[in-house]
Amino acid sequence: MRALTLVRDVMRPPVLVPDGMWFQEIVRRLRVSDAGCAIVVDRLGWPIGALSEEDLLARLADPDRAGEAESAARRATRRRAVAVTARELMSEPLISVAGSLPAAAAASLMRERGVRHLAVLDQEGRPGGLVDRSALLEPLLRPDLAIRQDVEDLLRRLVRERAASVTVDVRDGVVVLVSELQLAGLLEDVEEVEGVIGVRREEPAAADGGRCAS
């Protein structure tokens, strides 16, 4: 099987912001870089945190409605509303990954840590790249033909000679296995193939026109 999509395949060059940069200039830099997040670096270029458009939005957002109890998160939002430099504004923790991490694992990490961006650091620990959620959608765009080849390879390894009795059809990422075999358990293995959006089994077309079973 061909290699999985890795973080380094989809990352972009990082947008760097010095820790003393002012609010308005940060807004402008993110806009011209077409980025939703920047890595904040200290005077020596070492990363100290991440700053996203969300952190900047806090300066614009309506304050609390009167009478509502203020949560810790809301207080933090309000504190940032008056902060002015990158160091004061940043809040998204800098979570870094290796470029060799599969895109799927990066997506899990983002969800678990509640962030929208991951920094990729080079061997010295300096910012080498940035991945956002959009970049991690790339595996879903894999061509159907490539998915089909992977599924056929997988079947040959798992059910050997019986693989010949299974017809594999892939349309828009959805794999249909046409077979008289039950293929129990196998469907879950096929789900693991990169780019697969769904898997189902169908009976070969019979006199009654065939029916769907999975």
């Binding site: 308005q24 957002a61 939002t77 969800r111 959009s134 991690l136 990422g173 959006i197």
Partner: protein, 144 residues
């Protein structure tokens, strides 16, 4: 400038949308090509039924967890959602929206409260008239 800046002043009026019956690969391709982080899903009458975001689609990029590890409720739900293959299966609903006359600070508040990057803009008649993202709102700080 007279009066507060409202969403209508900042939104993009190009409407890119999905239907609930569209495939997820098509949705991912549309998101990548437009650079939009969330797309409204409209029903047959043109009403906004939900929103499909990058976060919703990333469920598909993550490999499904093996069934035996699906003990917690959130894991179970995540796996159940993984089974879906259409936009309607994965979209978030009801849609969190903005009105053209919503003020910029109120729209920002809504985005922060719900953790959203982009809101569909719907007029009083229920028509989808555009969408507004974080960057659009931040333009208020740059002057014009």
């Amino acid at each position: 400038m007279t009066g507060p800046t409202v969403v209508a002043d900042l939104m993009s009026s190009i409407v890119t949308m999905l239907t609930a019956g569209a495939g997820l690969k098509e949705a991912a391709a549309l998101m990548r090509s437009t650079g939009l982080s969330a797309l409204p899903v409209v029903d047959g009458e043109g009403r906004v039924a939900g929103v499909l975001s990058e976060a919703d689609l990333l469920v598909k990029v993550e490999r499904p967890a093996p069934a035996e590890s699906s003990r917690s409720f959130s894991e179970y739900r995540r796996r159940a959602r993984w089974r879906g293959t259409l936009v309607g299966d994965l979209m978030s609903r009801p849609a969190v929206i903005a009105r053209p006359d919503t003020t910029a600070p109120a729209a920002a508040r809504t985005m922060l409260d719900y953790g959203l990057e982009r809101l569909p803009v719907v007029d009083g008649a229920g028509r989808l008239v555009g969408s507004v993202g974080r960057r659009d709102l931040l333009a208020v700080f740059l002057g014009r």
